[in-house]
Symmetry: D2
């Protein structure tokens, strides 16, 4: 068993630049698989690399736009990357969301660091609450952990979604106990956890992971009520990177066919096999009655984090506008009207998320959390509007996004010139520029980054029904009914 | 010609209560018509009175909820009603919107005071700007006017929408110059204006009106570029109150049939025939190049003011939930799902308006104005979602809202008992309570207050196309296209 | 007790013209109430008369457009009004729907005769089926009844919707047995029924009514499983006409304010107090297990009958286009685009209904019934699209539809000229023509005929959820799942 | 130059089975490129083969379901495949659409044969019309061609969409005349055409192609007003197969990852370089004033042909229902409600297309053509509803569709067992079956067949705006306005 100090030993000098970050991922001994093959060095894997590039932008932005992405933290008494900061005011959440939109604009994809950020926020307050009730010292452990992380400027990922098995049963009722991550053994130095987390965003690109329960627990689910932080290269972890639409385009077609060759998202299945967590890195162990508040706080943060999709929306609106120009139809009233509609929907999402930030409230630990109703409303809009924005983008772009020859055809001596001749748009437009923009629209609406822009917008941070349940809980029908009765004169006698 | 002091003579002691306010409307000599008859005392007219009641709530709330509706103004150095306050911070606009939603909940209709409030905000900054460019003293005049109004605690209405005549022509090109309100004469003491303002909300219920241009003016439209404040009982004014759906229900059917017997909106056509405005009450006269900024600032304020409709939405959601209970179906999953959808849409409007308030910015005069893009987005949602909320409310309520017998039938000895027998809902529900709630839903979705909840939501503060034009102006396509080009690699050579 | 012959005595000479029809309604002794007053002669009641006019159009069209509205019936061996015809081919249903759309265009409202028509269709086949199983002679009774009705060319209304009381209980479980219409007594000559039917369309404007169960019955509900035909002036019947939005406008404001002064719909509560039905007019009495098929066949016919709303849609599109012309904006691209959208939605409804007619199938009696899935789909579209069409019509029309002065103001010497001056639209448009079109749009979207165009579109022939239940029953998931498994290779081994 | 007889020489014995068809594609000398490589034998190319399989189903169905897919043609006096039949009655179009839906269900993709079928229909009537006006013999030439094709039972493809160049210019005005296909040379034996056709569906899988103008022509566009039939292996043709989302999955991931391994669509760019067409195969040459009617008739047929997407919808609904079962949530009310919504939308498309078939009308040649308004309405629904159906399918399926490991991971000894353990759904569900269904949903919503289900639904047979233009042309505003004026009493005097 390795000591906590040893676990942190190689995080001595802080990561500063995007390049530092990429270097920091090399040479780790992780058990990663993709398409049936062991991936020894993800940073060199052509399919995985774009997801690392996207994460690296979270470092670049901290130096380029410090007013958005760097912030003083009282915890480490340092200027830290906002992705390691516990929100301490509405202004913090407002800046966070502006940063997320800007990163969406810069990458056109999921930059993968919000799960960890929102896990930090949720753990800050829940550990505080548990300690208050149970006399534990989780909050101090958590602060110590976070202080080290801030100083080292590392990426912390979050891991929440369990396989769940038979969805009608609680964790302790499952025929296979591993259907939810749980403590299988405890010793003097720490705990050992087994199970799996699915759909985990950016895990391979992180340095540490915080694992958390995925739902409300019962008194019989103590062993499943566990939160902790682990190194991503801890023994006992296996990662299987999921396939994405067009993931191998970058290999088989080339950069132009990829649409957005530099950036992509990443999700993986993480299997835990008796992974050791020293006590100092355990932030909940058995306090089952706090699991639901952890989940709710995390999702309240995280649903507003989907403001990032408005950054993707900006890119897609820009791409559609460019495609219209290339076709020479940018002044057609129906084209302009569609761009307005796309903008209207995109800004409605933005407004919902920003309102949820501005109207955030502090909890006992001092952390500020987005307004719960508005955050759910915001995410619920995210489950709808990007699909319509994508439809409109395809409408403007034309069918060529799905019938266009490969960049390799363009390089072919026989057909390359034919493609250049017949794909010529309005005068003065470079054919390859036209093709690149169309490939980007393909990428975001039916290609690799449609994974993040569409499907993840549905299911990330909870599927639509999860928001509806929260909206139902918060809709204050009693007050609303009283208002209606008052105006209707209910209780007054008919004359 | 009467002096300015004389014009203010009868506003000596401030209005305090809702009852004071109603009293203040009596005994005025105004030329008001409704359904072909002169209305001598609107406060006693059964069809008009509910609109006065709604306005009176803007006084009641100031005493009952001062944290929302009363605020210190530096202008009069007094605690004033928020409807007379120039927003001096984002918090001011946030409180304003909360007050508007609450008034929507209390009245279930348009309480008619926002046009004047938003006119005050717009005039504050535009007069400041004109003075800075033209060396005029409009801003001081305006402050003096507002100081008196704050001290007297009166209602200031706003008047903007001109008849417009041939919409392809500028004001000075119209065959009838009265198609836009304009100066017909000037003398040493002031100006004389003629023309008309249409669809004017709550004008009859006001004490003073601020009239403003309705659109961008040209250098030839100087006489039409005029802003001023007048008493609503100024000589030369004629009001024709418009008909509303079911306006006479309160007379012909009784309070129960009315649905919401106490509260309604009000709109009128105001005709100006050489109405005198002393110089002290003139805030623009000929500065045509500031007309568009006046209109834009007014609409930016006013589009967010439509947050009030979320208060009406609260009432309608509450009414639908009550109707479901009365029918014994409140636990049906499709009913609950519809209530969630109504709430989601309602809160999306709220979020848009609140974001526009939180992200307000100051202009040169120091006044804060809602974020322009978000305010347009907010209003654009208002042109859509209340219609769907209303449809869902009707869905839940059932067809009885349009087939229900009159309260007079209920009072009839022969059919009254039959109605009570057959309209009985679930056990324990009073039949008249059920009927009242259904009448309220009728009132808000296809009755008198549907005027305010639906049609006014479309056209007030500008029709949908007006928002689309503003959204188009603000959508920053150049930045968006640059982002798309960057990610697509436009300008890079195909390999 | 009166004999069957006596019951038919005064229907000797057939009704031919619309005027004949209106005359036929006079002088009947019916117990009708409206707004607390007994209505002795509905044809002379200004509020009710428009609904009679609408029904009268079903006669006028039979002479003016016999190819649509007159048809040979084998039952009476006569050319009959299509509203008395049992559909005997897809072409019959196609012609029926074209007739319904045309009547919608002619009246702009509910002409109220489809319930009875669809009751005839449903009874034809269900009586046939019962006889086949139970050895009864209902079918012959029904044919004899229909033969007389066809010969006399009378209006047969249908009555289905019971008050239902506690919706979680079957009829026999209700604390008040009258919550569903039922047999209270039987004697040698016939049966006596008590209870009530709600929301009954055009009942007062009919000559006879067919009453039917409203839902599936159980073995304990035999007394509630009853179908029969009665004269509308049968002893024991009381009618309470429901209030409609703006119903009294025609009285208080005049023809122009009414929007559509000639035509309106009508719905009433009908109370049955031991109403006698001779055996010859009883078409079901106790055969509870056929109640559900009666309801399903009726609703399958009736849901497609909502094609009439496309006729109303035609009027509203035409009105919106006229309003745009009056404003001089008919060539604006956004206006044209809205008219296209309205047309697209309207024709989608039409297509759904027509497909349900073309794909009708015969049942055992030989009657053709619309395709069940498509008929439900058609009606489900009717619960949505008219609301959007109405919203777009209001958008095009402008706010004047809810702020316009009364016709009485126009007649006033003082304000009449002002209104004419300021409501002038583009050159050459008569002000009153402009006002009339706007009043028509008010009438159909937030006025009297919005009852039929909007609320009735939701709830008539079953509320949205009723269609969803039928769609769920017919959606053949097993076949669809098999198709998916086949393409996915389910059952094949992973290599 | 080869003679017409020689051109037909190798089509002697008719193709009968799907296997015959595939064999018939081998050994042809065609100039085909994909991803920069010459494709010598498309039937053996793993990426292209699925599109050939889909086309082959059009043969299989003719023997398995002859009532749908085989029909007697008077032209060849033979029972022919319906894809070679000129519709001679509404029943023909109804059967055609049922066949198309069934093929959609069988393949889950675009089976590529409708363009040619609809070209046959359009050419039949347009050649007839030209001959009537111009004294030409195109119709006889066309019948002779079709007779041979029917006898040989070959696939005829259609080619319409030109590159168009500068969209503000007519063909003869383009700086490059090849932007529209045109006659470059004529001699005694025939004509020579150059240019290109884009987005051509199934061209490589066809035996012959009919090329047609893409839009209205002017008197100066005679050389561009050309229709003819050519062998797909004619000298001078080059094909570049477009890339589709996930097209190489079948190669890089395996059959399970492909989602629908057997079937896919296909589109290519076809370049014409002085391709010879003997006179007997020329069906228009210079009759520019018939180009628009050819395009309109083709699109009227073709827009209804999009009924095939309801077959894809059936598959996707079935897949979503299966996924819900695998997750054990198929009885959740929100899941069932989503399946109902998907069905409702799918059947609305079906109803629109079927109504357009049932209400088809004959033109002069005797061919029946779908109702134009309804066909445009049908296609316009196709540009919307599949996107919402796809969104709902993803909602039901869950995020796993975009995060799931590869089949190759499943085959890996280390991670395969982990995947089987953690992706286990409800008891009794085979993990690979669950994965296969999820991959199918990926395939249809964000994978290879989303090309056909989504993007092609937008742009095939004309983009949304093209339908709106046709709807605008057919919306008969004059009649609608007359109806509105009649009901509003326009022209009547105000009293």
């Amino acid at each position: 068993m390795i000591s906590v100090e040893a676990l942190w030993a190689d995080f001595g000098s802080p990561i500063v630049t995007a390049e530092d970050y990429i270097d920091s991922l090399r040479g780790r001994d992780m058990n990663i698989f993709f398409m049936g093959e062991r991936v020894l060095e993800p940073a060199d894997h052509p399919v995985i690399r774009p997801s690392i590039n996207a994460m690296a932008e979270t470092y670049r932005i901290a130096s380029e736009r410090p007013e958005l992405a760097a912030v003083h933290s009282d915890i480490a008494a340092l200027q830290v990357n906002r992705f390691l900061h516990v929100p301490a005011s509405p202004a913090d959440l407002v800046a966070k969301h502006e940063m997320q939109r800007e990163l969406g604009r810069r990458t056109g994809t999921c930059f993968q660091r919000c799960v960890g950020l929102d896990a930090i926020g949720a753990c800050h307050s829940v550990t505080f609450d548990i300690d208050g009730k149970a006399g534990t010292d989780y909050h101090q452990r958590f602060l110590a952990f976070l202080r080290r992380a801030q100083a080292a400027n590392i990426v912390i990922g979050g891991a929440m979604t369990d396989p769940k098995g038979d969805r009608s049963k609680a964790p302790h009722q499952q025929s296979d106990p591993d259907m939810f991550l749980h403590v299988v053994r405890r010793d003097q130095r720490g705990i050992y956890v087994s199970g799996a987390k699915m759909h985990q965003t950016g895990a391979i690109n992180s340095h540490w992971l915080i694992f958390m329960p995925t739902m409300r627990m019962t008194a019989n689910d103590r062993d499943w009520s566990v939160v902790g932080a682990i190194r991503v290269d801890s023994p006992g972890l296996t990662y299987v990177v999921g396939r994405q639409t067009n993931d191998t385009r970058i290999v088989d077609g080339g950069e132009m066919d990829a649409g957005n060759a530099r950036f992509a998202g990443q999700e993986s299945l993480i299997v835990f096999n008796e992974v050791f967590v020293p006590h100092q890195h355990v932030f909940m162990d058995g306090e089952w009655n706090h699991a639901s508040s952890l989940v709710e706080r995390f999702t309240t943060y995280h649903r507003s984090s989907y403001v990032c999709k408005t950054g993707l929306g900006d890119v897609l609106i820009g791409a559609a506008a460019s495609a219209a120009e290339h076709n020479g139809v940018e002044t057609a009233s129906h084209i302009k009207d569609k761009l307005v509609e796309m903008t209207h929907l995109n800004e409605t999402i933005y407004a919902s998320c920003m309102a949820a930030a501005h109207q955030s409230k502090p909890v006992a630990s001092g952390a500020y959390i987005n307004d719960e109703m508005l955050s759910n409303v915001a995410k619920h809009n995210v489950t709808r509007f990007p699909f319509e924005i994508a439809r409109l983008a395809q409408d403007i772009a034309g069918g060529l996004i799905v019938t266009m020859p490969s960049e390799k055809d363009l390089q072919n001596n026989e057909v390359g010139p034919l493609i250049r001749k017949f794909l010529q748009g309005r005068d003065g437009v470079e054919v390859t520029d036209r093709m690149r923009i169309l490939r980007l629209i393909e990428n975001m609406t039916i290609g690799r980054n449609a994974v993040g822009y569409l499907t993840e917008s549905l299911h990330g941070a909870g599927s639509p029904q999860a928001q509806r349940i929260q909206i139902a809980r918060g809709m204050k029908l009693d007050d609303k009914k009283a208002r209606a009765r008052n105006l209707a004169g209910v209780g007054e006698r008919a004359k």
